[in-house]
C-alpha cells in the first residue's frame, strides 16, 4: 500500500440521499467548512496549496519520491466534527515549516463563493436531467410542455419572479417542479406557499403528485394546531392568506415572523393587490425567494401592480421596498415578470367561444323589476343631499338579483334558459359549470341548484369546509351523473381545474372582466381537449343591459391603452355615471361633506353599510344600552374561523378622548378574532390615539371613512 498518510477532508455540506433526506428534512444550519487532517504516520509535507477554502496537502509518496501528489477530497456527505487530534494534526502540518497559507474560514470574504460551494454547484445534476421528461433522473408523473420547462428554468434562476402566464397554462405545476428541483439540489430547505383557502388542498395534492418525496403540511385549524404546524419539519408549508394574516402578529416571536423561508410563493397574487394587513403580512415574511403567481397581475390600476411587485422585489430582511405607479415600477415590472399567453404557447388549445345571451324578463319578474326600480329611484330622490354612491349600488344590486330570479314567485328567464340548454348538453354527454356572484337560495347558487335537480347538480360555495370542497370537486370529476356544478364566483372562480366541463355559464355579470375570465379558465385551460363554450346572460331592458354597454365602452378604451391587461371597470365608473344609470345627478363634494357631518345615527348607518358591503353580518345595538358598542359585525373567514368587529361611533364636532377607547375596550368580549373600531369623523385626541394604537384599536376618522365608502370596487367585490 502506498504511504499516503496525510489527507484533507473538506466539509462541504451534509448530504443525505434523496429519499432519506426527504423523510427527514434538514433543520440544522448550513454547516461551516471544516478541514480535518488525519495523521497515521509522520510524513514530510512539502507544501500546501490554497484554493479558496481548500487546503491541498502535497505529500511525498515514499515509494515514488520524485512524484508529488496533492489530494483533496471534497465530500458532499456528512462529516465528522473536527476533533482535537485532527486539530493537532493541522497544527503539526503547520509546524513543518514548509506550509503555504491555510485560509481560515473566519477571515474569508463572504462575497466570493468558496471552491466547495462552486464545486457543489458545478457538480450538481444538470438541470436538463432533472426537468420532467422521458428517462430523467427524477421521476415525474408526466412531461412538461416546452414553455413550461422554460418557466421552470427561469424560476430556478430567479429569486424574484412574477409568473404571470395566462390562466390555464400550468403555473402551479411550474412552481412545484422548480421547488422540487431546488430541494433536490439542496439549494432550499423550506418553502411557504400562500394561497386562497379554496386551493390549499389542491396544492397539497399537486405536490404529492409532482414532488412525492417532499413533505407538505397545510397550516389551518385552531390556534393550538397552527402553533405546531408552523414549526413542523416539512419541506413545504401551505397556508391561506387569511390564516397568514391572522398568525402574522406584531409579536416578533409569532411563528411566521420567526422563520426565514428559502422560498415564499404567493399564489393568486392578486390577493395582495391592495395594501392591507394581508399584503403586509406576506411582504413581512423573511425570505430568500419571492415568487408571485397570478394570471391577472393588474385588475384595476397600477397601484395593485405596485403592491404585488413590492412582494416580489423583496429587499433585505429588515427593509421593504415600496413602489408607486411610474417609470420605476414599470421598469422593475419588466424585469421580474414572466408572462406567456395561451395564443402564443398553446397552439393546440381548443378555442373559447363566448356567447352573450340576451333574455327577456318573465312577466312576474318584469313587474317586480319595474316596481323595485321605480321605488328605488323615488327613494334616491327622496334622500336629497344625503344620497351617496352606496345607495345607488344598493339599488343596482337589488335589481340584478331580480334579473336572476323574481324573489316573490321564483320565476326566472335565466333559469328557464339554462335548464333547456342543460337538457341538450346532458344528452350529448357534456358537463357545465355555472357561476353566480350570489349564493342565495332565491336568486343565487342555491336557487339555481334547486332548479337544476334533474342534472344532479353539485354546489361549491364559500361556506363549505375544505373537505366538502374537495369532495364536491372530486365527485363532479368522477361521476358522470353530475352534469352541473354551480359555484359562487368568489369561492370557485380561481384555482380549480375543471377541464371535465366544456360549458361555462355566467348567471350574472361580474363587474370585473378579469374575474369572469378567471372563472371561465377553470375549464378553458391546459389539457382541455374540446372547445369551451361560455354563455353570459343579460336581461334586456334592465340595468344589466345598461351596465354592460357602459362596461364595454370602458373596456374598449382600456384594451387600447393596456394590451391584454384587464381592468375592473367598476372602479372607473364615476359617481356621475352610476347616478346617470337612473337619470339622477351625483351629489357635489359640498353635499358629501355636509352628509358626513350628520347625526350619530347616520354614522352608525355608514359604518354598518361599510361592513355589510364587505360581507359582515351587522347587528346594531339599542342606542340607549349600547355599552360602548354601536355596531357589531360578524363573519366567517374562508377557513371557517368566526370573526367579530365591534364599532363605537362618535360623531362629535371635536376629537374624542381616551374615555371612548376605554369604554370600547371594556365592552369587548374575551376571545380571539375580535377587532375593535372607533369611528370618529373628527378623529381622536392624542391620548385617545395613543391608547388605541397600544391596544390595537382601529380608528376610522373622517378621511378613513370616506376612503372606505369610496372604494367602489372593493364594495362590489
Amino acid at each position: 500500500m502506498p504511504q499516503v498518510t496525510w489527507w484533507t477532508k473538506l466539509y462541504s455540506s451534509k448530504r443525505r440521499s434523496l429519499f432519506q433526506w426527504s423523510r427527514k428534512p434538514r433543520t440544522e444550519a448550513e454547516p461551516s467548512l471544516r478541514i480535518a487532517i488525519r495523521q497515521s504516520q509522520p510524513v514530510p509535507t512539502r507544501s500546501i496549496l490554497c484554493l479558496g477554502d481548500v487546503a491541498v496537502v502535497d505529500f511525498l509518496l515514499r515509494d515514488e519520491p520524485k512524484t508529488a501528489t496533492s489530494v483533496v477530497l471534497v465530500t458532499l456527505e456528512s462529516s465528522d466534527e473536527l476533533g482535537d487530534g485532527e486539530t493537532q494534526g493541522l497544527q503539526g502540518v503547520r509546524k513543518q515549516g514548509s506550509l503555504g497559507r491555510v485560509v481560515d474560514r473566519d477571515t474569508r470574504g463572504e462575497s466570493a463563493p468558496s471552491l466547495a460551494q462552486r464545486l457543489r454547484t458545478l457538480l450538481a445534476v444538470p438541470l436538463e436531467s432533472l426537468l420532467p421528461g422521458p428517462n430523467t433522473v427524477l421521476e415525474w408523473p408526466g412531461e412538461l410542455m416546452p414553455f413550461q420547462r422554460d418557466g421552470v428554468r427561469i424560476l430556478l434562476t430567479r429569486d424574484r419572479l412574477l409568473l404571470a402566464d395566462d390562466m390555464g397554462l400550468g403555473k402551479t405545476l411550474q412552481v412545484i417542479a422548480a421547488l422540487r428541483i431546488l430541494f433536490v439540489q439542496r439549494l432550499i430547505e423550506s418553502a411557504l406557499v400562500v394561497a386562497p383557502a379554496s386551493l390549499l388542498d389542491q396544492w397539497r395534492q399537486e405536490l404529492a403528485r409532482w414532488a412525492p418525496e417532499l413533505r407538505a403540511i397545510i397550516i389551518r385549524g385552531g390556534q393550538m394546531d397552527r402553533g405546531w404546524q408552523w414549526v413542523a419539519p416539512v419541506h413545504v408549508a401551505i397556508v391561506s392568506y387569511e390564516t397568514l394574516r391572522s398568525d402574522f402578529t406584531d409579536n416578533p416571536q409569532s411563528p411566521p415572523r420567526r422563520k426565514e423561508w428559502d422560498a415564499v410563493v404567493a399564489d393568486e397574487a392578486q390577493k395582495i393587490k391592495n395594501r392591507n394587513d394581508t399584503s403586509d403580512a406576506i411582504k413581512g415574511l423573511k425570505r430568500k425567494r419571492s415568487w408571485a403567481v397570478t394570471g391577472t397581475p393588474l385588475e384595476n390600476n397600477e397601484d395593485e401592480l405596485a403592491s404585488i411587485v413590492e412582494f416580489v422585489d423583496h429587499g433585505d430582511l429588515i427593509s421593504q421596498k415600496q413602489y408607486s405607479p411610474g417609470p420605476e415600477l414599470r421598469a422593475i415590472h419588466g424585469e421580474v415578470q414572466l408572462r406567456r399567453r395561451k395564443s402564443e404557447v398553446l397552439k393546440d388549445l381548443p378555442p373559447k367561444l363566448v356567447t352573450k345571451l340576451h333574455v327577456a324578463l318573465l312577466p312576474s319578474q318584469a313587474k317586480s323589476y319595474e316596481r323595485a326600480e321605480q321605488q328605488g329611484i323615488v327613494h334616491l330622490r327622496g334622500l336629497g343631499r344625503e344620497v351617496r354612491v352606496q345607495h345607488v349600488l344598493q339599488l343596482i344590486t337589488h335589481l340584478k338579483q331580480i334579473c336572476n330570479a323574481d324573489p316573490e314567485t321564483g320565476e326566472s328567464c335565466k333559469f328557464d334558459d339554462i335548464e333547456q340548454r342543460l337538457e341538450t348538453l346532458a344528452r350529448q354527454g357534456h358537463k357545465a359549470i355555472l357561476f353566480s356572484q350570489y349564493t342565495s337560495d332565491t336568486f343565487g347558487v342555491q336557487a339555481l341548484s334547486s332548479r337544476l335537480q334533474d342534472f344532479s347538480p353539485l354546489t361549491f360555495t364559500g361556506d363549505l369546509s375544505h373537505e366538502q370542497r374537495r369532495s364536491v370537486i372530486q365527485r363532479f370529476k368522477t361521476y358522470e351523473k353530475h352534469k352541473a356544478l354551480v359555484l359562487s364566483l368568489r369561492a370557485g372562480g380561481v384555482g380549480l381545474n375543471l377541464q371535465e366541463a366544456s360549458y361555462v355559464i355566467h348567471l350574472d355579470r361580474w363587474w370585473n372582466p378579469a374575474v369572469e375570465r378567471q372563472a371561465e379558465d377553470r375549464s378553458h385551460r391546459f389539457m382541455q381537449t374540446v372547445p369551451v363554450n361560455v354563455f353570459k346572460y343579460t336581461c334586456v331592458d334592465t340595468i344589466e343591459e345598461r351596465i354592460e354597454e357602459l362596461l364595454e365602452r370602458k373596456q374598449d378604451l382600456f384594451d387600447r391603452l393596456i394590451d391584454d391587461v384587464s381592468v375592473a371597470v367598476s372602479k372607473s365608473l364615476s359617481s356621475e355615471e352610476l347616478f346617470g344609470l337612473f337619470g339622477l345627478e351625483a351629489p357635489t363634494r359640498a353635499d358629501k361633506g355636509q352628509s358626513q357631518r350628520s347625526t350619530g345615527l347616520d354614522l352608525e348607518q355608514r359604518c354598518a353599510l361599510i361592513l355589510e358591503r364587505r360581507g359582515w353580518e351587522v347587528e346594531r345595538t339599542p342606542r340607549s344600552r349600547d355599552g360602548g358598542v354601536d355596531v357589531i359585525g360578524s363573519r366567517r373567514d374562508e377557513v371557517g374561523i368566526e370573526q367579530h368587529i365591534y364599532v363605537q361611533c362618535k360623531d362629535h364636532a371635536h376629537p374624542v378622548g381616551v374615555q371612548v377607547v376605554r369604554e370600547l375596550l371594556g365592552a369587548l368580549p374575551v376571545g380571539t378574532n375580535v377587532s375593535a373600531v372607533v369611528a370618529a369623523p373628527a378623529g381622536l385626541t392624542s391620548d385617545g390615539l395613543a391608547l388605541a394604537n397600544s391596544r390595537g384599536v382601529i380608528v376610522w376618522d373622517g378621511s378613513t371613512l370616506s376612503e372606505l365608502e369610496d372604494e367602489e370596487s372593493e364594495v362590489l367585490e
Binding site: 500500500m1 502506498p2 499516503v4 489527507w7 477532508k9 448530504r15 440521499s17 434523496l18 429519499f19 432519506q20 423523510r23 512539502r46 507544501s47 500546501i48 496549496l49 490554497c50 484554493l51 479558496g52 481548500v54 509518496l61 515514488e64 520524485k66 512524484t67 508529488a68 501528489t69 496533492s70 489530494v71 483533496v72 477530497l73 471534497v74 465530500t75 458532499l76 456527505e77 514548509s98 506550509l99 503555504g100 497559507r101 466570493a112 471552491l115 462552486r118 464545486l119 457543489r120 458545478l122 457538480l123 450538481a124 445534476v125 444538470p126 436531467s129 428517462n135 430523467t136 433522473v137 427524477l138 433536490v184
Partner: protein, 190 residues
C-alpha cells in the same frame, strides 16, 4: 468491525458509481485526476481530485509515463475515497486496462466506457455493446446479471446519465485547478 446492514429505505442502496477522470495539464507536465462518486440518480456524493507530475526524460516512453501517472493518481484517489463504489467507470480513451491489471487490482467491478470504435486491449477484458454508440469494456469480466453493479449501470443508462458524469468531473477538475476558471487564484505558496 461494525455490524453490516442495509438501509432498505435508502435509494442509494441501488449503489454508487465512481467515475474516474484523468485530464492532461495544459502545459503537458502533469495529469489531473478526479474520482467523482454519484448515486444511481446521478447525484454528486464525493469529489476527490488530485494531480501528479508526469515523469520526464528519455528513459520513459510517453505511454508508460502516463500509465504510471494514472496509476499513481488512481491509488491516491482510492486512498482518499470515503466509500466503496459499487462500480468504477473510466473512459477507455484515458485509462489503459493495464493500469487495473498490472498496477492496481481493484475490488469492485470496473468498466471502461467508449463511445468510439476501439477493441479489447487486455486479455481479461470483456466487451459489452450497451447501445449503438456506447461500448463497455469490463476489465475483469462482466458482473452477473443480478449483481448490484449490473443494476447500477442499467439504472444510470436508463436515465441517460451513464456518461454525463464524466463531463461534470471534467468541469470540477477545471474549476479546482485552473486559475481562470473562476477567477480565483491558486496561491501556490511553497
Amino acid at each position: 468491525m461494525p455490524v453490516p446492514f442495509r438501509d432498505l429505505s435508502r435509494e442509494d442502496d441501488a449503489g454508487v458509481a465512481g467515475y474516474l477522470r484523468f485530464v492532461d495539464e495544459p502545459d503537458g507536465k502533469g495529469i489531473r485526476g478526479a474520482l467523482f462518486v454519484v448515486s444511481s440518480r446521478g447525484e454528486p456524493l464525493d469529489f476527490s481530485f488530485t494531480r501528479v507530475d508526469l515523469r520526464g526524460g528519455f528513459l520513459w516512453r510517453q505511454g508508460e509515463a502516463k500509465r504510471q501517472a494514472v496509476a499513481a493518481l488512481a491509488k491516491s484517489l482510492f486512498e482518499a475515497a470515503r466509500r466503496a463504489p459499487t462500480v468504477l467507470i473510466a473512459l477507455a480513451d484515458e485509462v489503459s486496462p493495464r493500469v487495473f491489471t498490472e498496477d492496481i487490482e481493484v475490488g469492485v467491478p470496473l468498466c471502461r466506457v467508449s463511445t468510439g470504435e476501439i477493441e479489447i486491449q487486455a486479455a481479461s477484458e470483456e466487451k459489452e455493446r450497451l447501445s449503438d454508440a456506447v461500448d463497455l469494456f469490463w476489465v475483469n469480466g462482466q458482473p452477473p446479471p443480478d449483481s448490484p453493479a449490473r443494476s447500477l449501470v442499467d439504472a444510470l443508462n436508463g436515465r441517460n446519465i451513464l456518461i454525463e458524469p464524466f463531463e461534470r468531473a471534467s468541469i470540477g477538475i477545471r474549476e479546482a485547478f485552473d486559475r481562470n476558471a473562476s477567477g480565483h487564484m491558486v496561491d501556490k505558496a511553497v
